[in-house]
């Protein structure tokens, strides 16, 4: 444990170097060639993705960076998700930036640095790295959200995002300080005095009740801070404005990357720091968290989906829908917590979240690539009415966006369907535990929201197919973006039909979740 083990961190090192190469190459390239940096980025990230997918899932947890970095199955899985996200963001940004016409070097290097942060987030094993890496992610995203600096919306999005983001950082820091105060330790796993590996959750479990109370307060505040990052109600206020104002590729990046990073951290904190309590013991600590999260999950589901209904702007609608999806992912968290409260270590919730995120990447990215293609001019507005008659103007684009929307709504045989199925299944499993029968209400909420979300997604589909187009201008589909979009859609269908290998990938992360 007490070694740097640099070889485990090669993906991150590779990413930093890639970012630096892009940054420096930008200086030496002719201005008109600079936009090719997007292809450099996509290429570099593709190499990384292939590398990650070729890496076998580790059987045991390996530590690097003096025990501050853990290389385990969950981290590897999430890094795959991030690498794919990065590639797709790079592909859709290239055309977008060409139209916008400025700053490709900085843009792509920031995307890569944000990815570096996400990679670190996936592997953190202590609160310090957690804080610093998460801030690296959000800092890059602040800048990217405000990147269209001559656009009022973008600036507004940047300011709103940074205020909320910094507030969340403050809350997280405050919470971590209290957990540190209770335990005297910021590492999730560390060598105890007797040379044994200790899990921070064991330390918390062994504390006296006053300190446990302190730790519980710390968890709550920390998780509230993370709630901002994943856009859980009532910490969602920034989402619609930031989603609408940020450049569309950045919105896509936010909706997948930032959310996944937040959920990774919640899972890490829950599995490594929140104690598992043996049956019969005093449940107070974790039980409170179950109730808190169940409430938040229910509110998030209903708020996100209900507020999406009256939206007139597609980006804003996607923002609210992403709140709804955060609600679904929180169902998995509740399931994990309830299992923990009952003293069981089965973590179907985690693999459900992992699967859902994996499916969500392709679905959401296909949708956003479609939106980037749709805006032909340099302006970046997305009134839903503009999409009227898209089925006639650009059949392929409309088909892909429809499939993406239906997958988001959870319709078979698409990836989103199985994701929701898996999550609701995990919460029903938790509801079977003694004393947690009320979780069925949450499962019902998840089910009801399938119907609500179906409504507003279908409203968009309706405009595309059932209304007449408002303009006859043909829509040109640039080949790279088109290929990326179609590839995503094919994957959405493939994952939806042949879930087996992907579920196996998602359950594979469970083995190394602990030590």
């Amino acid at each position: 444990m007490d070694a740097m083990n640099l070889h485990l961190m090669l993906p991150e090192i590779y990413l930093v170097l890639l970012g630096l190469v892009i940054l420096i190459a930008d200086l030496y390239l002719a201005p008109e060639k600079r936009f090719n940096l997007g292809w450099w980025t996509a290429g570099g990230l593709s190499v990384l993705a292939v590398w990650l997918f070729a890496t076998p899932t580790p059987e045991t947890v390996e530590f690097a960076g003096f025990g501050l970095y853990r290389a385990d199955g969950f981290a590897l899985f999430m890094k795959k998700v991030f690498a794919l996200t990065g590639i797709l963001v790079a592909v859709m940004s290239t055309g977008y930036l060409k139209r916008y016409g400025r700053g490709p070097g900085e843009f792509f290097s920031l995307v890569i640095f944000a990815l570096t942060g996400m990679f670190m987030v996936a592997s953190v094993n202590d609160f310090m790295s957690l804080f610093v890496s998460l801030e690296l992610v959000t800092l890059c995203l602040f800048i990217l959200a405000a990147y269209r600096r001559h656009d009022k919306l973008s600036g507004e999005a940047g300011i709103k995002y940074i205020i909320v983001g910094a507030m969340a950082a403050g809350l997280m820091l405050f919470g971590m300080a209290f957990i540190y105060g209770a335990t005297g330790e910021v590492r999730f796993t560390y060598m105890g005095a007797d040379g044994q590996l200790v899990l921070l959750s064991q330390t918390v479990a062994n504390l006296e009740s006053g300190w446990q109370m302190t730790a519980l307060f710390g968890f709550t505040v920390l998780l509230v801070g993370l709630g901002f990052k994943v856009a859980a109600v009532p910490f969602h206020v920034w989402v619609p404005d930031v989603y609408q104002g940020a450049p569309t590729p950045v919105t896509a990046f936010l909706s997948v990357g930032s959310k996944a990073a937040g959920f990774i951290l919640i899972i890490r904190v829950i599995t490594l720091v929140v104690p598992t309590i043996a049956p019969g013991a005093d449940l107070a600590l974790v039980d409170q968290l179950v109730k808190l999260f169940a409430l938040i999950a229910g509110l998030t589901l209903f708020y996100g989906n209900l507020a999406a209904i009256p939206q007139k702007n597609l980006k804003r609608l996607m923002g609210f829908s992403s709140i709804g999806h955060a609600g679904y992912l929180l169902l998995g968290i509740v399931a994990v917590l309830a299992m923990k409260a009952a003293g069981e270590e089965t973590m179907n919730g985690v693999s459900a979240i992992a699967f859902y995120l994996f499916a969500y990447v392709f679905t959401n990215m296909a949708m956003f690539i479609g939106m980037v293609i749709f805006t032909q001019g340099s302006e970046d507005s997305h009134a839903i009415d503009d999409y009227a008659g898209l089925g006639k103007r650009a059949p392929l684009l409309a088909l892909c966006m429809t499939i993406a929307l239906l997958s988001l709504a959870g319709v078979p045989p698409l990836a989103g369907f199985f994701g929701k199925f898996y999550l609701i299944s995990s919460i029903v499993e938790a509801a079977r535990l003694d004393g947690y029968g009320w979780l069925l209400v949450l499962a019902a909420a998840g089910a009801v929201n399938v119907v609500i979300s179906m409504y507003y997604y279908l409203c968009v589909v309706k405009r595309m197919y059932m209304l007449e187009p408002t303009s006859d201008e043909p829509i040109h589909l640039p080949p790279p973006a088109k290929i990326a979009m179609v590839a995503c859609i094919v994957l959405v269908v493939v994952i939806g039909i042949f879930q087996g290998p992907f579920v196996q990938m998602a359950t594979g992360v469970l083995a190394t979740l602990g030590f």
């Binding site: 740097m4 930093v16 970012g19 940054l23 960076g65 003096f66 501050l68 970095y69 400025r102 700053g103 900085e106 843009f107 290097s109 920031l110 640095f113 944000a114 570096t116 942060g117 670190m120 202590d126 310090m128 790295s129 804080f131 610093v132 890496s133 801030e135 690296l136 800092l139 890059c140 602040f142 800048i143 405000a146 990147y147 600096r149 209290f178 209770a182 006296e208 006053g210 300190w211 109370m213 302190t214 307060f217």
Partner: protein
């Protein structure tokens, strides 16, 4: 310098006096920072608040942190703030009026709730926090709050977050330039 502080604090009641004085300054300055309508005045009060906070760090015998607090916060960051305020040359009417419409009202309640919950947690866990701080003054673990004592773990055990921070600062620089440079 450390021994001087140490002796002062160790003197009967010195620690308590120092704590209360510094806390009073910090809190009062913080309140004034929020209340002042002119951002320049706010910055000044914030600087004072941070200096007070540095004083509190001293009573905790974290001398090096106290120095950093003054240097980085009061020195560098606040100068940056002042610089931006001057640069933007805000017109008088733009200097925000403070008002309490409905939404901020909820925020005030949230803040009060937050403080109450901190207070309740502290009250509930009192036995755990019982150790008086001035009794710790002579404990050997704390004698090493020197640059060396912080530097060695920082560059060995905690090297990883340190390296991430370097990327973070690079990203911040790139971003700040990308957002503000006139011609890009």
């Amino acid at each position: 310098m450390e021994p001087i502080f140490h002796d002062l604090l160790a003197a009967g009641g010195g620690h308590a006096v120092a704590f209360y004085a510094c806390s009073a300054v910090t809190i009062a300055a913080a309140i004034l920072m929020v209340m002042k309508k002119n951002p320049v005045a706010s910055v000044m009060w914030l600087v004072l608040s941070f200096i007070g906070l540095a004083g509190i760090y001293v009573t905790l015998q974290s001398y090096f942190i106290a120095v950093i607090q003054v240097l980085v916060y009061a020195g560098a960051i606040m100068v940056l703030f002042l610089f931006v305020i001057m640069l933007l040359n805000l017109r008088r009417e733009d200097i925000a009026k403070m008002e309490l419409p409905k939404v901020p009202f909820a925020g005030v309640i949230a803040a009060i709730l937050f403080f109450v919950s901190v207070f309740l947690v502290i009250k509930a866990s009192t036995p755990a926090f019982e150790k008086p701080v001035d009794a710790l003054l002579g404990e050997p673990a704390l004698a090493g709050d020197s640059v060396r004592a912080i530097g060695i773990p920082l560059f060995s055990q905690w090297l990883l977050p340190f390296e991430i921070t370097s990327v973070l600062l690079l990203a911040a620089i790139v971003g700040a330039v990308a957002l503000t440079k006139k011609k890009l």
